[in-house]
């Protein structure tokens, strides 16, 4: 293994992670005959075909029917955006609750515009945070607005509400909004003095829907039934997509000056932010949700079998995972293919120990970039975080690993498990001889209706069997040699047998299908949408561009932000 120190760490971006649990465990019951007997395509385009078979609807055969534009809407901040926006304005905000934590997890992506709970608990959390921030930031605010010491200075209080409002609402206040906030300040001042008035205004701002929601309402355009996002709405979209935080000063100034009306200007600011210190934070947030690693640090394993897989190791591995992704995105080839095939892994000491990479010495506690030489270790899907995340506590889970790749990387729809499903227990063969887990699963899942779905998942998971439940390379399972061969089905152009994980990931990495699928996932995250009948229309241009740009992930995001499909909204009554 060769080694070099990496230049930066993005570990914090993935510090709070969630595990979505095993996806598909197995089945022994009856699959509904007919419609669900085979998985279908989610509408991902591509160049291959499997007429009449699973996935036939994808591979370029889906028709685009419907509008390419999103509707006018408001979109709630997710937990990270909420916290980042508060801290961008109030660095001394104090310890905040996460009022959206539950609803963040209630959709595929936390940015989804339609799934957010504003129930009693959430609203109380918002209000409590407002109180916390107001108390903690009072000194900071008073220092910035020294004129408030003159309690009768209404110009000063007016300036206060406009400044704070501009930052928290992420757009200039209207005259009516400014007046209402100034009146609130005056009411508080009369009741209990300027300190109470400041806190009252801060609490009000942090409870306002103008703070809690992204606005994507636009202004009427020349085209009938269409509205173009305003400059401030565009600035907001750029900033949260790229940095997961509100616009910085330059972007805000550009919005104020009306300079974001051209794709070139949007591109200029998106690239500027991507090149900056926080530039990959938005993409890292996407990766965390895409790979379902939010709760990885809680993913405990059998301590007898995997004593090194403790919480500190998990934390280091998760930081490695984030840094490895960042390394690809910062490289000269920030492509999906690189992500799926890279051999450059950022490694910290505990991760190296977990993987048995004893030849690595003097690793930096902040991670060192190494060139993996292990057979089969190539790409982010061979990272221990992914492999351990999709594994049982005491053994691997090729079904879950295969399910993730099939459904999330290749966008082949797999129906949910059927009735009375049982996960096969590891048992010996009828003659008493031991079996590998693969042999057990093949025995259970190749029969009857189980094969209907498992033929698409399990053979994609089998090549990962060379990695154990924490991602360490192994050569045997239950004392028997590992069979690392597998096959891809239902994905059109790349269907067919593979000899190893490396070969399989190479095929996937170079496929139009994976590129289309990834583009669709990024769109769903950035645009905050879920599966819908119009998704194919909304993403067809994006997918084409992504393929033309050889799967450049950064260009994908920038292109999306520039696209007319994103910048114009359907006017709704």
């Amino acid at each position: 293994m060769s080694r070099q120190h990496k230049s930066s760490t993005l570990a914090s971006a993935l510090a709070s992670a969630v595990l979505l649990g095993s996806l598909a465990a197995g089945c022994t019951g009856n699959i509904d005959q007919g419609s669900a007997s085979a998985p279908g395509s989610s509408g991902v385009g591509g160049s291959g075909t499997s007429p009449g078979g699973p996935g036939a609807g994808g591979a370029g055969m889906s028709a685009c029917v419907g509008s390419t534009r999103l509707a006018q809407r408001i979109r709630p901040l997710n937990s990270a955006q909420y916290g980042n926006t508060i801290r961008a304005v109030f660095p001394d905000a104090g310890q905040l609750r996460s009022p959206f934590e539950v609803s963040d997890r209630s959709a595929e992506f936390s940015t989804n515009a339609n799934l957010r709970r504003f129930d009693f608990d959430t609203s109380l959390g918002i209000m409590t945070n407002g109180q916390t921030v107001a108390e903690a930031s009072l000194a900071q605010i008073k220092a910035s607005f020294a004129c408030l010491a003159q309690s009768a200075d209404s110009n000063c209080s007016s300036e206060l509400v406009k400044t704070l409002g501009r930052s928290l609402y992420r757009a200039p206040l209207s005259a009516d909004q400014a007046t209402k906030l100034s009146n609130l300040f005056e009411a508080g001042n009369k009741l209990a003095g300027p300190d109470a008035a400041i806190k009252l205004v801060v609490r009000a701002l942090l409870s306002s829907p103008l703070f809690l929601f992204h606005r994507e309402l636009g202004q009427p355009s020349a085209e009938s039934g269409s509205a173009n996002l305003t400059a401030h709405e565009i600035a907001n979209a750029i900033s949260f997509a790229v940095t997961n935080a509100p616009p910085d000063a330059l972007l805000s100034q550009a919005a104020d000056a009306g300079e974001l009306s051209t794709p070139a200007k949007i591109r200029e600011h998106a690239l500027r932010l991507l090149g900056g210190e926080r530039g990959l934070t938005g993409l890292q947030a996407f990766m965390t949700e895409f790979f379902r690693t939010r709760d990885f640090v809680k993913n405990d394993k059998d301590k007898t079998l995997f004593p090194l897989f403790d919480s500190e190791t998990r934390s280091q591995a998760l930081a490695d995972f984030a840094d490895t992704i960042a390394g690809v995105l910062r490289s000269s080839e920030p492509t999906l293919a690189s992500l799926l095939t890279t051999r450059k892994f950022v490694v910290r000491p505990r991760t190296a120990a977990l993987l048995g990479w004893s030849d690595l010495q003097n690793l930096s506690p902040d991670g060192s970039t190494v060139e993996a030489s292990e057979q089969g270790r190539a790409g982010i899907l061979t990272h221990p975080v992914f492999l351990a995340n999709f594994a049982h506590a005491n053994e691997t889970n090729p079904v879950a690993r295969g399910h993730f790749v099939t459904s999330n990387v290749l966008c082949v729809d797999i129906p949910p498990p059927p009735q009375a499903v049982k996960f096969p227990e590891r048992t010996n063969a009828n003659d008493g001889s031991p079996r590998t887990l693969r042999q057990v699963l093949q025995s259970e899942h190749s029969m009857g209706t189980c094969a209907g779905c498992h033929q698409f998942m399990d053979p994609v998971g089998y090549p990962f069997e060379v990695f154990d439940a924490v991602g360490k390379l192994r050569s045997t399972d239950n004392g028997l040699p590992i069979d690392a061969s597998g096959s891809i089905s239902g994905a059109g152009e790349i269907d067919g047998p593979v000899a190893s994980a490396q070969e399989m990931l190479g095929k996937i990495a170079g496929s139009a299908r994976a590129q289309d699928c990834f583009a669709e996932r990024v769109y769903k995250y950035v645009a905050g949408v879920d599966a819908s009948p119009t998704l194919e229309c909304s993403t067809s241009s994006l997918k084409s561009r992504f393929r033309e740009q050889q799967g450049n992930v950064l260009e994908l995001v920038v292109g999306l932000l520039q696209s007319p499909e994103f910048l114009a909204r359907e006017v709704v009554p």
């Binding site: 609203s123 409870s207 949910p416 009375a420």
Partner: protein
């Protein structure tokens, strides 16, 4: 623990307004109790039912022995939605409280597609209550696959009602927070008035479909306002702080996501009973769990994963027997507490109706077209209690006669509410279940 509303109010004191106690008129009250993985026939059938009025309670049902004459059991209530998507309980879950519902915008995965029976009842009973509805729950990991919406209660399509999971917040919601500082009261009023006005102003600027995103926020702000106003009218029991209320909210959520804590749930049940007793609400939903949860009952020896290991594999029923016993104990416990409260010439149980339901009748992925419902309480005499109805097995000759929607109609009519059918019409349900109402 940093108390939510008290910290919100900056040092205000949480106070139970015991001086506000007063006479409570006899009013109908409804409790919906839900847990996951089924009121399974396998376990219900342990009780010998010789005729609707001649039955012997066995297994978990023995918890109801003291109330046998106030008990009504209905088995094999048919629900088409439960058979959808391979009988996956999570696929038809929200619909079990809707009667039936095949499709919600093409998908059917725990998305509330219309008013659920508890919220429909709340909208009728709760119009004059401080809290139209009180929904309490147990934290569990909602991140698994189909647990899309995080609740199975809803006022209307896309208007979910989420359970309150924090016992301290629940306490404040029921008993309120009394503000003893007039200046702080005025500041608080200014703040809440501003927030409400702000939401309403923004609401008016939005396209119609987007407005509902703010409506739930506005409603919850109003609920907070009411809870801060405090004041309870009934004879309130003393509900003291429990050990887990001394912990931070994230700790509580984290600890409870994977394992049931009997002390926690008992306390939530106490709070729910107190809310009814004190007149804070007339409709209570106790959503312990639902669907695809991973919760374990380690205190009772159920250390296997509730979803995969119990929901999928508990062929002998060993674990579900304990789980059902736990819930039967709590249903009976709540009922007894209200039965012990004098009201008018009788007790609060006289006007109470308590409905215990689950996600289905079978496993996580099976048997969910055959539900069961257990009622406790006389509903002011509208229910023929002391009866056990075993309707024809799952897909009998005429399932329309015992569609789940009819059970919901029965519940509503037993509370004196006008309702002839419920649900989206997938399962015909004109009128109540035969032979259940007096």
């Amino acid at each position: 623990m940093a108390l939510a509303a008290s910290s919100l109010l900056g040092g205000l004191v949480l106070r139970l307004d015991r001086e506000a106690q007063g006479a409570v008129t006899s009013v109908p009250r409804f409790i919906l109790y839900n847990h996951s993985n089924g009121l399974q026939n396998f376990h219900l059938n342990k009780s010998a039912v010789r005729s609707p009025t001649d039955f012997t309670l066995s297994g978990f049902m023995t918890h109801f022995e003291p109330f046998k004459q106030e008990l009504t059991v209905a088995q094999n209530l048919f629900c088409t939605a439960g058979a959808h998507l391979h009988g996956n309980s999570s696929s038809g879950l929200s619909c079990t409280k809707r009667g039936a519902e095949i499709s919600v915008e093409g998908i059917m995965e725990m998305v509330v597609g219309g008013p659920t029976i508890d919220q429909w009842i709340a909208s009728r009973l709760g119009q004059s209550s401080r809290l139209r509805s009180l929904v309490l729950g147990h934290p569990f990991d909602v991140s698994y696959g189909n647990c899309a919406q995080g609740t199975i209660s809803g006022r209307a399509k896309n208007e979910p009602v989420y359970p309150t999971l924090d016992p301290v917040k629940a306490h404040e919601l029921i008993f309120g927070v009394q503000n003893q500082d007039e200046v702080l009261i005025q500041l608080q009023k200014s703040y809440l008035d501003f927030v409400k006005d702000d939401i309403q102003s923004f609401h008016a600027q939005l396209p119609g479909a987007e407005r509902q995103k703010l409506e739930q926020y506005l409603e919850s702000v109003r609920e907070i306002e009411r809870s801060l106003a405090g004041g309870v009218a009934g004879a309130c029991p003393q509900i003291g702080a429990q050990e887990f209320t001394q912990k931070s909210e994230p700790d509580i959520q984290g600890e409870l996501q994977n394992s049931n804590n009997p002390a926690f749930w008992r306390y939530m049940c106490d709070l729910g009973v107190a809310a009814l007793q004190c007149g804070a609400t007339q409709q209570l939903s106790m959503l312990h769990t639902y669907g695809c949860i991973h919760l374990m009952y380690e205190f009772d020896g159920v250390s296997r994963n509730h979803h995969f290991d119990v929901g999928h594999k508990d062929e002998e029923g060993t674990f579900m027997d304990k789980i059902l016993g736990f819930h039967a104990e709590h249903v009976a416990y709540m009922y007894k507490k209200l039965k012990d409260v004098p009201e008018g010439a009788g007790t609060m149980a006289d006007s109470l109706l308590m409905a215990w339901m689950s996600d289905g009748g079978g496993y996580h992925h099976g048997g969910n077209q055959a539900h069961s419902m257990i009622w406790l309480g006389k509903g002011n005499g509208r229910l023929q209690t002391g009866k056990w109805h075993r309707f024809v097995e799952a897909v009998g000759p005429n399932p329309a006669q015992y569609a789940l929607g009819r059970a919901h109609v029965t519940t509503a009519q037993a509370l004196g509410l006008e309702l002839d059918d419920f649900g989206d019409g997938t399962d015909p349900c004109n009128g109540p279940l035969p032979g259940v109402l007096a």
